[in-house]
């Protein structure tokens, strides 16, 4: 019995000190005015009511939701499409898979920096679009284009993960199902609808839930590409938290953290429910 406790002790201690205690303090501070220097002063729900009246925070919430919708509307579909392409008899499949997967391995800071130069007003994307007569645009300096530009960067960075997950799931669908469908004269489209998609259901759900939870936490790209601007048009929840932390509004920042926690815990809860449903 003793060895068991010795084996779990590091994990339990670390989770207490680095997960549970911080979580409790974060919750406590969200009900206080606190700047890290003077002692925290209890204010009840004031931080939360102020947050939901603060246009900057509302903007951050809204931008995050738009970012999630944009990314999740395109990313997984692109992943599924490329996985279906690669699930055929294709030469150089390993090469194409590597091409899609490379950005997934790369630091978001690197990816964001590269896209910053591509999206520059004088950058290569504008030069290529210029060939087709599209006027140059300073994507990241525009209040309407900046958020979609950051979202496109994030989709480019991340969809290869979905490609690889879908490809693995596609290859796990028994060939007999397709053979049976072919014998019955099913077309490619019918096979897709009645064999492939049902076989992918758990994977599709997994990809969306993981993707949504990850997208809600978007920060690195924002920090590098736009720093929340222009005029808060790319301010997101975590960027808002970071900004309040740096202006020493630790009480308000903790309240932001707890709003994020409630959103993501709800999503995790839905995930568990959905997965129970499929098993």
């Amino acid at each position: 019995m003793l060895p068991a406790y010795v084996l779990v002790a590091p994990a339990i201690l670390a989770s207490l000190v680095f997960l549970y205690i911080p979580m409790i303090f974060s919750g406590y501070w969200s009900f206080t005015k606190y700047n890290g220097l003077a002692p925290a002063e209890w204010v009840g729900l004031a931080n939360y009511t102020e947050l939901f009246r603060d246009p900057e925070f509302i903007k951050a919430l809204w931008n995050t939701v738009l970012f999630v919708l944009f990314g999740m509307g395109i990313g997984p579909l692109l992943g599924l499409f490329t996985a279906l392409l690669l699930n055929q008899k294709v030469r150089f499949r390993a090469f194409f898979r590597t091409a899609y997967f490379l950005p997934v391995m790369t630091s978001l800071v690197v990816v964001a920096t590269i896209w910053k130069i591509l999206l520059n007003e004088h950058g290569i994307i504008n030069q290529i679009l210029g060939v087709f007569g599209v006027p140059a645009l300073g994507w990241l300096g525009s209040t309407t284009a900046a958020l979609p530009a950051v979202a496109v960067t994030s989709i480019w960075q991340g969809f290869g993960f979905e490609t690889v997950v879908f490809l693995a799931a596609l290859q796990a669908i028994p060939r007999d199902y397709y053979d049976a469908a072919k014998v019955d004269g099913a077309t490619y489209r019918q096979q897709l609808r009645h064999v492939t998609l049902p076989g992918l259901r758990p994977t599709i759900m997994f990809v969306y839930i993981i993707g949504i939870i990850g997208s809600f936490q978007v920060f690195d790209q924002i920090f590098v590409m736009t720093n929340g601007g222009p005029i808060n048009s790319t301010r997101t929840i975590v960027f808002d938290l970071y900004d309040r932390f740096y202006s020493l509004q630790l009480g308000e920042a903790s309240a932001v953290a707890y709003v994020l926690l409630v959103i993501l815990a709800t999503l995790s809860f839905i995930q568990i429910r959905l997965f129970e449903g499929t098993r």
Binding site: V8, S107, I114, F245
Partner: protein
């Protein structure tokens, strides 16, 4: 009945043979390869552009029409990255921090996972549940208190906490998801093997070393890969806990280079390439393991 099955088998054989002879309409094949090639250019092009730009003098970065190849080639940008900025130092920092986090996770996650998978002790299910529940809590929720803890530690002893390696490493020393994943791997070890070792008088630690670790090796490789990825690419935590330039990891160094050095794209792209290179090289060398490891992590999760 049997005749029908044989009929179907024959029919199937015909279909398969037909497909072997005609793997799809030639136009369809051409279209498939066109799409694959186009998307690959979109995926690899940006990396190429960063590399090409890193060798260009400042005046050529946004040249119109674009210079697809650097002409003239210069190495000044790389010289700057290693003299004006200290990417060699950031690299060493990243290696120390990531290496420590990977090593700690392999030892601690596996040890805890083994206890949860194969040992019986009071409170086992409760403790495991308490760990699992933290998977719902995003890291950002703990950010501010963690920072305060690191400030406090630093006051007690200047070798710990903010602006030190320990400050970057400690919060990553275990991962609940890692414990969960390793537990999935370890439950596959038959209890009888462990029992007979115990009957032979082996200690729990001996069993861990000579039976569990060898069987758990593939799982540990998976754990090492996704811990490595997460730690190497981590940005928000090191950004917050580190304040002096000679402690930056590579992503932090690259991000903050841009705030100091707004307009020098040549330098920035050289820094980008230097930051991207280690991970890309490791990935290309261990590609299959990476992809298998990450999809295993995904599927088991």
């Amino acid at each position: 009945m049997t005749a029908r099955v044989i009929d179907r088998a024959a029919e199937l054989e015909q279909i398969r043979a037909r497909q072997r002879r005609h793997p799809g309409h030639p136009l369809r094949r051409a279209f498939l390869y066109f799409v694959l090639a186009a998307t690959s250019i979109v995926m690899i092009g940006p990396f190429y552009w960063a590399l090409a730009t890193s060798f260009k003098p400042a005046g050529d970065v946004f040249a119109s029409p674009p210079k697809w190849l650097p002409n003239p080639w210069i190495l000044e940008n790389y010289k700057d990255v290693f003299t004006l900025f200290h990417f060699q130092r950031y690299f060493v920092n990243s290696v120390i921090v990531t290496g420590s986090i990977v090593a700690l996770n392999i030892v601690f996650d596996t040890a805890a996972a083994y206890a949860f998978a194969k040992l019986r002790f009071p409170g086992r299910n409760f403790l495991f549940f308490m760990l699992l529940i933290t998977l719902m809590v995003p890291f950002q929720v703990n950010l501010i208190p963690l920072f305060r803890i690191m400030v406090l530690l630093h006051k007690i002893t200047p070798h710990l906490g903010v602006d030190t390696y320990s400050g970057m490493i400690m919060p990553g020393m275990i991962q609940v998801f890692g414990i969960f994943l390793m537990r999935q791997f370890l439950t596959s070890i038959p209890d009888e093997v462990l029992e007979s070792a115990r009957v032979d008088g082996a200690s729990e630690f001996k069993i861990l070393r000579s039976i569990v670790f060898p069987i758990a090796a593939p799982g540990m490789a998976t754990l090492a890969i996704f811990t490595f990825l997460g730690a190497w690419n981590d940005f928000l935590w090191p950004l917050i806990v580190i304040s002096s330039d000679d402690m930056y990891t590579m992503p932090v160094g690259l991000a903050l280079l841009q705030t100091k050095n707004m307009m020098n794209w040549g330098n920035t792209m050289a820094g980008t390439c230097v930051t991207a290179a280690p991970m890309i090289l490791v990935f290309l060398a261990l590609q299959r393991r990476f992809i298998e490891g990450l999809t295993a992590g995904a599927v088991k999760g």
